[in-house]
């Protein structure tokens, strides 16, 4: 046992001596939370638009005023003719051009119908979709006000209640994702690299001939990272709560237990990778390509899983972070407990068993 503690101490020293890596490890979650909180907003804001007003009457001026008065849009310029549209899009700053037909107000008065055309730069499909939807909403709103005299008192004004995230903040969505990513990064990537490093530099041989049992070597390698990962989890939760008011509606204890499960899972994946990789570079690319990018894109962190093709939904079911993120969102934002999440937790436990059995099976006490 004493030997084991000596080994754990050595590992701790290895990690903490490398101040640069430590800085990065603590820096990444903090910076990410701040970036996601302040920078990566999906809210539409200050989108530049241009107007081609062939009519230039009272009604169009009123509409333009209504559109630019919202926070969503800024009027970048008014265009002289159709030929200018292409140039303005190619330059890249203007995302939408609103074209009013000639005689806009007159048509409205005489025939009761008038046309407006929205041209969006859809090379950014997502923004284009939002921009067009928001503009139409403003236009429709204008029309309902005009019509309100006729059918007033009978119009449905729906009451929309946003559950779990009333201010539609982006961070709510991203805090669980960042946790999933950072924990994989620290636990899986760092363990696999540090084991591969011992192999590459030849010091693994020294460890293997020492009286330490293989299990002790692995446990010793893993212990410091459990401590590190757990500390960072707490930091992320605190930051989210203190700076962005991301609530923890459910049980904190339950949340932390789930986190420990996930950390153990990530570590066992790390050990698994290190049994396959001979060099640090290999270990790094393997964990990077098989864990980092999929975590970022396939786990429901940024892109909703329901919208993916079926094959990818299956693929994402194989990823631990996918289940972890669901549990974390449920516990933190919806406040549900074991009753709603037992299925996901069972899956995580199953994955832990799988990777542990596999890597114990593959772990060699001899190098060649």
């Amino acid at each position: 046992m004493k030997r084991f503690f000596g080994f754990v101490k050595k590992e701790f020293l290895h990690i903490f001596r490398d101040t640069r890596t430590m800085l990065v490890l603590f820096g990444i979650p903090i910076i990410q939370i701040i970036l996601f909180g302040y920078v990566i907003t999906n809210e539409l804001k200050d989108i530049r638009i241009a107007v081609l007003d062939k009519s230039n009457d009272e009604a169009t001026r009123e509409i333009i005023h209504k559109i630019t008065a919202s926070d969503f849009f800024i009027l970048d310029r008014t265009l002289a003719g159709e030929h200018a549209i292409e140039d303005v899009f190619r330059e890249g700053n203007v995302k939408e051009v609103i074209v009013f037909e000639p005689g806009f107000a007159e048509n409205l008065q005489r025939y009761g119908v008038t046309r407006v055309n929205l041209l969006a730069d859809a090379s950014d499909a997502n923004t284009a979709n939002l921009v067009v939807n928001y503009t139409s909403a403003i236009l429709r709103d204008y029309m309902s006000q005009k019509n309100s005299k006729l059918i007033s008192g009978m119009m449905i004004v729906p009451e929309v209640r946003m559950f779990y995230n009333p201010e539609l903040k982006g961070v709510y969505m991203f805090v669980p994702g960042i946790m999933a990513m950072i924990l994989i990064l620290i636990s899986a990537m760092m363990t696999s690299i540090s084991i591969a490093r011992e192999k590459e530099l030849g010091t693994m041989e020294v460890l293997l001939v020492s009286p330490l049992k293989p299990v002790q070597i692995i446990l010793g390698k893993v212990t410091p990272y459990i401590a590190l990962s757990f500390t960072i989890t707490v930091i992320i939760l605190l930051l989210g709560y203190l700076v962005f008011r991301v609530p923890i509606t459910g049980s904190l204890l339950f949340l932390l237990v789930v986190n420990i499960f996930y950390i153990i899972l990530a570590l066992s994946i790390g050990i698994f990778i290190s049994t396959l990789a001979k060099t640090q570079q290999m270990a790094m690319f393997m964990s990077m390509l098989s864990l980092m990018l999929p975590t970022l894109l396939l786990s429901g962190f940024i892109f909703p899983i329901e919208n993916m093709p079926v094959v990818l939904q299956w693929l994402s079911a194989l990823l631990p972070p996918r289940w972890f993120i669901v549990i974390i969102k449920n516990v933190m934002l919806k406040g549900t407990g074991l009753l709603y999440n037992w299925k996901e937790i069972l899956i995580l436990i199953g994955m832990i068993l799988f990777f542990l059995v596999f890597s114990i099976h593959k772990f060699k006490i001899r190098l060649e």
Binding site: R140, G153, M162, N307, L312
Partner: protein, 372 residues
């Protein structure tokens, strides 16, 4: 010149000798590109809806019918109890719950504004915003079509209508893949370029072989160029492969000139690889280099406008993007490929990157020490 050629040759021999690294360099990014591209979609396909209709009248049925027939909604459940619907929201089975309270039709007849409630799961704020927009559009339709009919508004008092038509330029189907593809290409090429060149140099440090080079008459800039060129070539080849794959599998539009794209890419790669060599001159181990590069990559990728437009970011973030090479490249790749922008359109970005490349390469040659 000859020295550099030998150094480059040595690197290439080392790269091609390593049988495990090559597949990682070329095959993994391809798989990633294909898989991730299908994943990276924000299209709203089906909004799962629970309907709680406590009125069960003709008017309420016309309203629910509107949602059932809309392609955006998948009506999963009808029920009478709000509790059951809220349970659906909680368990994730429903994205939105429509509640029509009893007395909906009666309110119409009394000319009182009827109440209708939408409960939206708003954890994903963007999706919630879109759901709310679609929903409001349907309600508006209902207000304009159904109510006048039900209320028999006198025919001489026609309601004014606004015909809104869209045209979506450059991407009429709102194909999200076409938007993500160029950006993912940039990221993959950057990962290959940055990580390989930096790791390679630090590996020599870690294994001690750098000493052998330091005692030779090889000049500092020879060494840096010798490390730069092979991976620069590899990354450019990689870009070509990705372009071909994008063209074949995803019908990637290439409206602009590929030559222009390559010109820009070659300068861009000098910048990121210069930066990674600089980082590796100040690091001692592969682990350190990896984490440092990773740190900057994450920040730069997030801020580059890959997921969300740069314009919506706060002012200070837009200022930080001045030193973000990825932001320039992603913007330019999209402009050239999707919109066919020409050299004069991208001149500001090009000029910035050239200056950047000169500065960063000078820095890394200066920082590299042959003596310890």
């Amino acid at each position: 010149m000859k020295t550099i050629a030998y150094l480059v040759q040595k690197e290439f021999i080392q790269i091609f000798r390593n049988r495990t690294l090559l597949p990682i360099i070329f095959i993994a990014p391809l798989v990633q590109l294909i898989v991730l591209l299908y994943a990276a979609t924000l299209d709203m396909k089906g909004i799962d809806m629970f309907i709680v209709d406590q009125d069960l009248s003709i008017s309420s049925r016309r309203l629910t019918q509107k949602f059932i027939s809309s392609p955006f909604y998948r009506v999963k459940d009808f029920s009478f109890s709000i509790d059951q619907a809220e349970h659906g929201l909680k368990s994730g089975a429903a994205d939105v719950v429509l509640v029509i309270p009893a007395g909906f039709e009666r309110d119409f007849l009394r000319e009182k504004p009827p109440e209708v409630q939408f409960l939206i799961d708003a954890i994903n704020g963007t999706a919630a915003g879109l759901i709310s927009a679609y929903t409001t559009a349907i309600i508006n339709d209902y207000n304009l079509e159904v109510i006048p009919e039900l209320m028999r508004v006198p025919t001489n008092q026609t309601l004014s209508r606004l015909d809104i038509s869209y045209s979506l330029w450059y991407n009429p189907q709102l194909n999200y893949k076409i938007f993500m593809l160029p950006a993912l290409m940039v990221i993959l090429v950057t990962i290959i370029g940055m990580f390989l060149s930096a790791l390679n140099m630090v590996r020599e440090k870690e294994l001690g072989t750098i000493e052998q080079i330091n005692v030779t008459p090889i000049r500092k800039y020879h060494f840096i160029i010798g490390k730069l060129v092979p991976f620069w070539i590899l990354a450019l080849v990689e870009l070509g492969v990705l372009l071909v794959v994008g063209k074949i599998f995803f019908d990637l539009p290439t409206l602009g000139s590929i030559g222009l794209l390559y010109l820009f890419a070659s300068v861009y790669l000098l910048v990121v690889m210069g930066a990674s060599l600089f980082i590796s001159t100040i690091s001692q181990s592969q682990q350190q280099v990896m984490f440092l590069i990773f740190f900057f990559m994450i920040i730069f990728v997030m801020m580059s406008g890959i997921f969300t437009p740069v314009e919506t970011m706060p002012y200070w973030a837009q200022k930080i993007n001045i030193i973000n090479p990825l932001a320039y490249f992603i913007r330019v790749v999209r402009m050239i490929l999707l919109k066919g922008s020409n050299f004069s359109d991208i001149l500001p970005e090009f000029r910035a990157l050239v200056i950047y490349a000169v500065v960063i390469l000078t820095l890394s040659v200066w920082r590299y020490r042959k003596t310890t």
